[in-house]
């Protein structure tokens, strides 16, 4: 038998966990995409040495599990003198993780902008800033927008792991509740559905944002 009503009295625990997860997701999505944009620009247009540095960063992160990156930052860095709170460690780990994946994605977008297009912008008298935003970044982001946003959602789901260093996120709430009332199945099922709702909601939000960001397509 399933007893979902036993969870009701813990609704504020779930809600505060949900709040932490959402806050961290919004923050790390913004920071991660900014980091990815900078790294992708360096990777595409920088000199050889800086390209190399970015490649090493991207490959190191993409080929190791997030939980190990998190443990390294939270347990490993204090050993060499960098004390971090669980929340700070998670934020840094999530940002670095999303940064690496988005570098790879955004770079593909930048690579799709042909050189002739940039030269044409110069000939037409666009200045450096105009070229960078209107000719390079907006069209590049439009091409990779679906891939980038689904990666953001994957990182949000991956953030469940930060409960392991006792950040009080949604997964932490689920663990807490099931340790109190021993309704493990119900507690985890409800939490899983909350994550599902969150990822569907995020997808809608990203689609709506995309329509606004790339509105110039339909307006002319």
């Amino acid at each position: 038998m399933l007893y979902f009503s036993d969870l009701l009295q813990y609704s504020d625990v779930f809600l505060s966990g949900l709040k932490t997860t959402v806050e961290l997701t919004v923050l790390t999505t913004i920071l991660g995409v900014v980091l990815g944009t900078v790294c992708a620009t360096v990777r595409q247009y920088g000199n050889r040495a800086s390209q190399r540095v970015v490649s090493v960063y991207v490959e190191l992160i993409r080929n190791t599990p997030f939980i190990v990156q998190l443990f390294f930052i939270f347990f490993g860095l204090p050993a060499i003198g960098m004390m971090l709170s669980p929340w700070e460690a998670s934020m840094i780990a999530l940002t670095i993780n999303l940064g690496a994946y988005s570098t790879e994605i955004i770079r593909a977008g930048l690579a799709s902008i042909s050189k002739g297009q940039i030269e044409a912008a110069k000939v037409l008298g666009l200045n450096f800033r105009q070229t960078l935003t209107r000719v390079i970044f907006i069209p590049a982001f439009e091409k990779i927008y679906p891939a980038l946003t689904s990666q953001c959602i994957i990182v949000m789901l991956g953030s469940a792991v930060i409960s392991q260093i006792s950040v009080q996120d949604l997964t932490y709430a689920a663990n807490l509740v099931q340790s109190r009332n021993f309704r493990a199945f119900e507690s985890y099922l409800v939490t899983a559905l909350m994550y599902l709702g969150l990822s569907i909601l995020l997808r809608f939000a990203f689609n709506a944002l995309g329509k606004r960001l790339f509105a110039y397509r339909t307006s002319n």
Binding site: L60, T64, G76, L157, A160, A184, F185, L189, A192, L196
Partner: protein, 216 residues
């Protein structure tokens, strides 16, 4: 208290790596088997079957792998089904792997022009013959690179099995850390071992992708 030399640490980590590899293989085999079944269900063009596959993918791609593991391990045992950490890990990793592979393969099959299906039917080939002689040989060529690439995600996914107490690389890493208090060294080593496992697969996937693009 037992002293751990560097040799002891490495030996223990190497031992644990075997379990990570074994779990990855089991999950990958399980995942491909289920994904093949689901792909077949999708290709039947039966709306009910397609709906089931869609919900399956949405469910397992839209929830954290960690939560799926908790449900399989703690959830099922609370409901009265005794399940070991090993089985729970394989079960949830199979769900996870198959949900992503189905989507990857869907993309690969959809890149083939629809006219090929129609032409084959006109030539008198049955559904299975079309699949066997026309669609699959091309789809497999397209699908190999992203499938190899995804195997990296499976290996990384096995790290979460440490949370439900399955003793693999990450778990042994945390256990050694608790015994030696040398987190920097231990987690660097653990990360390096994962890198050594995953990076060749990433490179191979990239190589396959290039090869395919050239031949096209």
């Amino acid at each position: 208290m037992i002293e751990f030399s560097n040799y002891d640490i490495l030996r223990n980590l190497m031992f644990a790596t075997q379990w990570t590899i074994l779990l990855s293989l089991a999950a990958f085999i399980g995942g491909t088997t289920v994904a093949l079944t689901l792909t077949a269900m999708r290709l039947t063009r039966n709306p009910v079957m397609q709906r089931i596959v869609k919900i399956y993918v949405e469910l397992f791609q839209g929830t954290p792998l960690l939560m799926q593991m908790f449900l399989c391990f703690f959830g099922l045992s609370m409901l009265g089904y005794e399940i070991s950490a090993w089985s729970a890990a394989i079960l949830s990793l199979t769900f996870f792997t198959s949900a992503f592979l189905v989507e990857i393969w869907r993309g690969c099959i959809d890149t083939l022009p629809k006219g090929q299906w129609e032409a084959s039917r006109c030539l008198g080939l049955s559904f299975l013959q079309t699949l066997r002689f026309i669609i699959l040989p091309q789809a497999i060529r397209v699908a190999t690179a992203p499938t190899v690439g995804f195997s990296v995600q499976v290996i990384k996914g096995t790290a979460l099995a440490s949370v439900i107490g399955f003793v693999e690389l990450t778990k042994v890493g945390t256990m050694l850390n608790n015994a030696t208090f040398e987190p920097f060294k231990i987690f660097t080593l653990v990360a390096l071992i994962y890198f050594v496992l995953c990076y060749p697969l990433s490179l191979y996937s990239k190589h396959l992708e290039k090869k395919f693009n050239v031949s096209r």
